[in-house]
C-alpha cells in the first residue's frame, strides 16, 4: 500500500531525511526505532504533508497514488492517519464538532451523504468505548485540558472514528503510564485487521510488548540503516544504539 522510494526532505534548508526506502503491505505492523534526532518525527510529518517540510527528492506512493501531490486533508481521505506525538489543543472547537466535520468531509470525498446526527452520536459512543474515553471529554474542546494519557487516547479514538488504511503512531507511548499504555495499545490492536497497516514510531521496546511488529527498522541520520524482525527491537533494547553506530563504522 505504501512505497517510499529514496525520500529526501528539508526543514529550513537543513536536510533531515536522506534517502528513506520503505514498503508497507496491508496487514503489516512496522516499527521504526532510532535515537533522538534521527528523523523519525520528520518522516511522519512529511508523510502527512506538514507545510514546514520540503521534499527535495524521491517519491511516496500510496495505493498507486502520488501521496506527495495530495493535500494533508486528501491524504487523510485516502486513508492515512497520524497519531501525533504532541496532540494540538484547539480551544473553542468541541470534540463533537471536530469529529463531525472530519467524518462528513470524508463522506463527501467518497461521494456519500453527511451522517445523520443520531448515527453520528451512536458511532461516537461505540468508538469511545474502544479507548475507554470519558463522555465528558467528548463534549469538551479538542484536547483542551486533557491529561497526557487522555490526549493519546483521544488520538486513538479519532483513528477508530476515521478507520484509516495506514496509521502512523508517533511516539504514542511517550508520557503514558502503564495503564494508559495498555488501553492505547489494546485500542490499536482492536482496530487492526488484514486490510490495514500500522507504522509504530518509538524509542522503546515497551510499546512493542503490546503491539507486536512484523518488521523493525532502525532510522539513523535520516536513513534506514538496519531492518529485521521483532528480535531486532529486543536487541536494541538490550544493547542500545551504539552497536549500530559501530557497525556503521562511526565508533
Amino acid at each position: 500500500m505504501l512505497k517510499i522510494n529514496d525520500l529526501h526532505a528539508n526543514i529550513n534548508g537543513k536536510e533531515i531525511l536522506k534517502g528513506i526506502n520503505l514498503t508497507v503491505r496491508p496487514g503489516e505492523v512496522h516499527a521504526i526505532m532510532g535515537p533522538n534526532g534521527s528523523g523519525k518525527s520528520t518522516l511522519s510529518s512529511v508523510l502527512t504533508g506538514h507545510p514546514a517540510y520540503e521534499v527535495t527528492q524521491g517519491s511516496v506512493e500510496f495505493y498507486g497514488k502520488d501521496l506527495l501531490a495530495l493535500s494533508p486533508e486528501d491524504r487523510s481521505h485516502e486513508g492515512l492517519f497520524l497519531s501525533f506525538q504532541y496532540p494540538v489543543e484547539i480551544p473553542g472547537v468541541s470534540m463533537v464538532n471536530f469529529m463531525r466535520a472530519a467524518i462528513n468531509e470524508l463522506r463527501k470525498y467518497r461521494g456519500e451523504e453527511p451522517m445523520s446526527a443520531t448515527d453520528f452520536l451512536k458511532l461516537m459512543r461505540e468508538k469511545r468505548a474502544i479507548v475507554e474515553l470519558d463522555n465528558k471529554l467528548a463534549s469538551r474542546s479538542v484536547n483542551e485540558g486533557f491529561s497526557g494519557g487522555e490526549k493519546k487516547r483521544n488520538e486513538i479514538f479519532q483513528m477508530a472514528m476515521l478507520e484509516p488504511r495506514l496509521s502512523i503512531l508517533d511516539e504514542t507511548d511517550s508520557g503514558l503510564d502503564i495503564d494508559a499504555l495498555r488501553i492505547v495499545a489494546e485500542g490499536v490492536n482492536k482496530l487492526k485487521n488484514e486490510n490495514n497497516a500500522t507504522i509504530v514510531i518509538t524509542h522503546y521496546q515497551r510499546l512493542l510488548d503490546y503491539i507486536a511488529p512484523d518488521f523493525v527498522h532502525v532510522l539513523y541520520k535520516g536513513r534506514i540503516v538496519k531492518s529485521g524482525g521483532p528480535e531486532l527491537a529486543l536487541e536494541l533494547e538490550e544493547k542500545g544504539y551504539d552497536w549500530i553506530k559501530k557497525e556503521l563504522g562511526e565508533i
Partner: protein, 450 residues
C-alpha cells in the same frame, strides 16, 4: 467643518419644515445642537479618538434627507416574516429613519409604550422630554449634535416601574431604495426601577450600490435594579457608512448588557458611552466584528465608574481578513470615590490575512485607590498547528479556518442572554465565515429583498 456645513445650511434653510414634520420635544433641542456644532469642529483623523475614521469623508457627500417624511414604499414585515426562527418578538421597523406604522403588534402589558418616537412624544411629551437628549451628551461628539439637529423620528420604548417584559422587543432598521440618503435615527429606551427588558436592534440594507450614511444615537436609561439587554446587530451592505453612538445611564443595582455585533458592513464607527451612576450597578459590554474586503470597523468605548461598588466587564473581538481594518479603543474611567470598582476589559483580535490591520488601545484612568481593574489586548493569526492538525483529520483548510474563527468568536456569543438569539447568532456567524470562504456561496447570506 466643511463637510457638515452643507447640513447646517440645510437646517438653516429648512428648519421650519424639519420642525413641522417632527415634534416639539425633538425640536426643542435643535437650537442647542446648532450652537454645539457651530462652536466645535468635526474631529479629524488627527484627533486621538478618531484616528481610524475619517468623519469629514463620511459626511462629505451631498446626501439627501427625508425631511418631509415621505413614506418609502416598503413591506418590511413581509420581507422579515421568517427570518428569526424560534424568536418571537414584538417587531417594529424603521425604514430609513422613518417609523413604519403599518405593522400591528400584540398588546403590550401594563403601561409599556413602544413605537414611533415622534408619535410617543406627541402623546406623552413630558415623559419623553424628561429623557430625550438627557443621556446622550452632545458635547462628547459633534456627530451626536448633528444627529440631534436633524433627527425627526425614531423608536421609543418605555417600561414603567416594576414591569417585566417577557417577550423581547425587536427593531429592524431598513435602508435602501436606490437614493443616496443620510438617515438620522434616534432610539430612546427608558426602563424604570425594577423593570426587565430585552431589545434587539438589527440593521439591514439593500445591496444596490447606493451610498448611504446612517447616523444612529441610542439612549438607554436603566433605573434602580433594572435589567436591560441591548443587542445591535449590523448586517449592512458595503456601500453603507454608519456612525452610531450608544449612551447608557445606569442607576443603582441596575444590570445592563450591551452587545454590538458587526457581521457585514461598509464603514462602521460605533461609540459606546456607559455611565454607572449608582452603587451596585453592573455593565456587560461586549461585541464582535467580522470584516474583510475593504471594510472598516472602528469601535470606541467609554465606561464611566462614577459610584462605588460597581462592576463592568468588557469584551470585544475582531476577525479581519483581506484588507479589512479594525480599531478598538476602550477607555475605563474610575472616578475618585468609586471604591471597590471591578472593571475588566479584554480585546482579542485575529488577522486572517497579512494585509488586514488591527489597532487596539486600552486606556484606564483610575482615581480611586481600592479597585480591581485589568485590561488585555492581543492581535494574532490563526494557529497554524491547529490548522494542520485538523487537516490531517481530513478537514479541509477552508473548513478548518472557519471552525477556528468561529471558535474564536464563541465567547462573545455566549454572553448573549437570549437563547433563541444565541442560536441564531451561531448560525449567522458560521454563515458569515463560510460565505467569505468561497465567494460563490454568497447566496448563503441573505440579502434584503423588498
Amino acid at each position: 467643518m466643511q463637510a457638515i456645513q452643507q447640513y447646517i445650511d440645510l437646517y438653516r434653510e429648512q428648519h421650519e419644515v424639519i420642525d413641522q414634520h417632527s415634534t416639539q420635544v425633538l425640536n426643542a433641542l435643535r437650537p442647542e445642537a446648532l450652537r454645539r456644532i457651530e462652536s466645535c469642529t468635526l474631529p479629524s483623523t488627527k484627533h486621538e479618538d478618531y484616528q481610524h475614521t475619517d468623519l469629514a469623508a463620511m459626511y462629505a457627500p451631498d446626501y439627501g434627507l427625508n425631511i418631509t417624511r415621505i413614506e418609502l414604499p416598503s413591506q418590511p414585515h413581509e420581507a422579515f416574516r421568517c427570518d428569526v426562527p424560534n424568536l418571537t418578538t414584538q417587531l417594529y421597523f424603521l425604514v430609513g429613519d422613518n417609523f413604519y406604522r403599518h405593522h400591528r403588534n400584540k398588546e403590550l402589558p401594563n403601561g409599556v409604550l413602544a413605537g414611533s418616537l415622534r408619535d410617543m412624544a406627541e402623546a406623552h411629551p413630558e415623559l419623553v422630554a424628561r429623557y430625550y437628549g438627557k443621556i446622550a451628551d452632545m458635547s462628547k461628539d459633534s456627530t451626536v449634535a448633528l444627529n440631534t439637529l436633524l433627527a425627526q423620528d425614531g423608536f421609543f420604548l418605555y417600561i414603567p416601574k416594576g414591569v417585566v417584559l417577557d417577550r423581547p422587543m425587536q427593531l429592524v432598521n431598513i435602508v435602501g431604495g436606490g437614493i443616496s440618503m443620510m438617515h438620522n435615527r434616534r432610539i430612546l429606551v427608558v426602563a424604570e426601577a425594577g423593570t426587565q427588558a430585552k431589545l434587539l436592534v438589527c440593521d439591514h440594507s439593500e445591496d444596490d450600490g447606493t451610498h448611504q450614511l446612517i447616523s444612529q444615537v441610542t439612549e438607554i436609561w436603566a433605573g434602580d435594579g433594572a435589567v436591560v439587554d441591548y443587542y445591535n446587530l449590523e448586517e449592512n451592505a458595503s456601500c453603507i457608512q454608519r456612525i452610531s453612538s450608544t449612551f447608557v445611564h445606569q442607576e443603582a443595582n441596575s444590570n445592563v448588557l450591551v452587545n454590538g455585533i458587526t457581521l457585514r458592513n461598509g464603514t462602521t464607527r460605533d461609540n459606546y458611552y456607559i455611565a454607572l451612576n449608582g452603587e451596585g450597578a453592573e455593565t456587560n459590554l461586549c461585541g464582535m466584528a467580522i470584516a474583510d474586503g475593504e471594510k472598516k470597523v472602528d469601535v470606541y468605548t467609554h465606561i464611566d465608574h462614577r459610584k462605588a461598588h460597581c462592576n463592568s466587564n468588557e469584551l470585544f473581538k475582531f476577525v479581519l481578513d483581506e484588507n479589512a481594518l479594525g480599531s478598538f479603543a476602550g477607555r475605563i474611567l474610575v472616578r475618585e470615590g468609586a471604591q471597590k470598582t471591578e472593571a475588566y476589559q479584554s480585546n482579542k483580535n485575529l488577522c486572517a490575512s497579512s494585509t488586514a490591520h488591527m489597532y487596539t488601545k486600552p486606556q484606564l484612568e483610575i482615581y480611586a485607590d481600592d479597585v480591581k481593574c485589568s485590561h488585555g489586548a492581543t492581535v494574532g493569526q490563526l494557529d497554524q498547528q491547529a490548522l494542520f492538525y485538523m487537516r490531517t483529520r481530513g478537514i479541509s483548510e477552508a473548513e478548518a479556518r472557519m471552525l477556528l474563527q468561529f471558535a474564536f468568536m464563541s465567547d462573545v456569543i455566549e454572553n448573549v442572554r437570549l437563547d433563541a438569539l444565541k442560536d441564531r447568532l451561531r448560525q449567522l456567524v458560521e454563515k458569515r465565515f463560510r460565505g467569505e470562504l468561497s465567494q460563490c456561496q454568497q447566496c448563503a447570506m441573505r440579502t434584503q429583498k423588498q
